[in-house]
Each structure stands twice: as C-alpha cells, then as structure tokens.
Symmetry: C2
Subunit: 156 residues, 2 copies
C-alpha cells in the first residue's frame, strides 16, 4: 500500500536558497476532485504519472510511476487543465528529515511552501526557524487547487 505522510508550512524569506539548488518542476492534473487526483509531472528530464487518493488525517494513498518524458509532456500539453503548475523545488536534509521547499512561479508567484515527509503520523521533528504557519489541512494550498485558484487571487 503506497502511503504518503506529510506536513506543509508557509515559508518566509529565502534562507532555503542557500541549502540546495532549485530544480524546475512542471506539473498538471488530468483529473482531480476533493478525494483523488491523477497528476503528470516533469523534472530533471524525467516524467512521472501519480495517482493520489483520499487523505485520512495527514496520510494519503499514493502510487507514482515513471513514464517517458516525451509522453509526459504530451499529456501535460493535451490532457491537463491549464495553467500547468511551475515551481522551483529545493530539497535538503534538516535534523534527520527531508524537506522540500517549493518556490512557485507564474500565476502562483510569491507563494513558497515547505513540505516534510514523515515516517508516521506522530513523528517528532525540528523545523528551521524560517518555517511559518502550518497549512497541511488547508485545501487552498493543494497544487491541484492552485490550478483553478492561483495564489495571486488569495486574500491573505
């Protein structure tokens, strides 16, 4: 059973830039609703097809498969809702856990989100001091929702 357990936080400042090199991610959704999504993602010249299920607490069913990057780009172009999400991802280790900071571009420019993947729902972890408010349960910050309601429209 593919399970993904993660927490999400707002990031302020750009200290994360000194901790890793940003990698361009392009991703789109063939379908998504409140319960599940089918996503296509391209980065480092590789393509991925990902099926995500319902969230129970902070964990979700997740199945990810590598696919030919040319086909991933075709699916992004012809079968995904626009605009495609673009972001620079910074990946680094902090106190024993992997963190991923997404610096969004385009319609979502200005939004920076940090994610930590956890081994179980009760894992204890330390946060860099520039990590802000937790938004794990806030659907507005789901990438799929950022397609239809981009960050530039948010009234903070």
């Amino acid at each position: 059973m593919g399970k993904e357990i993660e927490k999400k936080f707002i990031v302020s400042g750009d200290a994360y830039k000194s901790l890793a090199k940003g990698v361009l991610y392009r991703q789109g959704y063939i379908f998504f609703d409140k319960d599940k999504s089918v996503r296509v993602r391209v980065f480092n010249d590789k393509g991925y097809l990902t099926v995500k299920g319902t969230s129970t607490g902070i964990s979700r069913l997740e199945y990810e498969y590598e696919i030919p990057v040319g086909e991933a780009n075709e699916i992004l172009e012809y079968l995904c809702e626009k605009p495609v999400i673009e972001k620079l991802r910074y990946k680094f280790q902090f106190e024993g856990f992997t963190w991923e900071v997404d610096e969004f571009l385009g319609e979502n420019e200005g939004l920076v989100i940090a994610e930590i993947e956890l081994p179980d729902e009760n894992a204890v972890f330390k946060k860099p001091d520039w990590i802000g408010r937790e938004v794990t349960g806030d659907p507005r910050y789901l990438n799929s929702n950022l397609v239809k309601n981009p960050y530039k429209n948010f009234k903070e």
Copy 2:
C-alpha cells in the same frame, strides 16, 4: 504520440469461442468524462494504468503503462468507481487484422462487443459473418459508461 484507432461492433452468437481462449479482464476508472479517462486494468496477473484522451473521428490519444498488479488491485479497490467491469476477452487474427471480442459479465452480462484495431482511419478490412451492427460512435458502449449505465438497463 500514442494513438489508438479502432472500430466496435455488436456480436451475435458465440462462434468467437472456438477462435480463442477467453481471458478474464477486470477494469475500473479512477476518473472519466466525455473527453478523457484514467483506467486501471488487471489481466493475466499483470496491471496496467491507461490514460485516454479525446476521440477525433475514430482515433484517440492513448498512453498505457504496466504497473505492479498488487497496486493495480489496490487502485481498483479503493480509487475506482464501482462496479468494476468484468469481461472475458477472446483475441484472434482474421484476414490480417487482430480482433478482440469482449464477453461482458456481471451487470453487463449478455453484451458481447468485437473491436478491431486499425493502422489508419481508412483501412479496409473483412469481418467475420457473425459481426453485427457497428457501435463505434455510440457512447453507451464505452466501458466507462457501462459502469454507470450497465447493459442490463439498456432498452434496445
């Protein structure tokens, strides 16, 4: 570009049973609408994830990937609309083309559909004499629609 070009016909009688051995297929849809679908299919102990796009004429964008059969069964169980489509597929050659006859089970019992995959939209081909009416353009006979509106509800 993954393209699938095929024609569909109603089948009468069971002459097809002497031409091949029936293989059990179980398939479900994580999502589908009039333009596209994401399907999971299991047969011969293998799993497949398939993305299909809009039909233009009789051809469609199609991308199919083999996935671990255990994960395919999990996705069928937890992320696909019910009921799962079950059918016996008979695959054989006839006058230079591959034919697939699907004998549906469960809610769609009684429905038998033959499909021929063509190299291009104008290909000329011969049909076994037990092949009936063409239903290529009829959305009722799309497997995805047979989930919500099974054959037992059809008023022929």
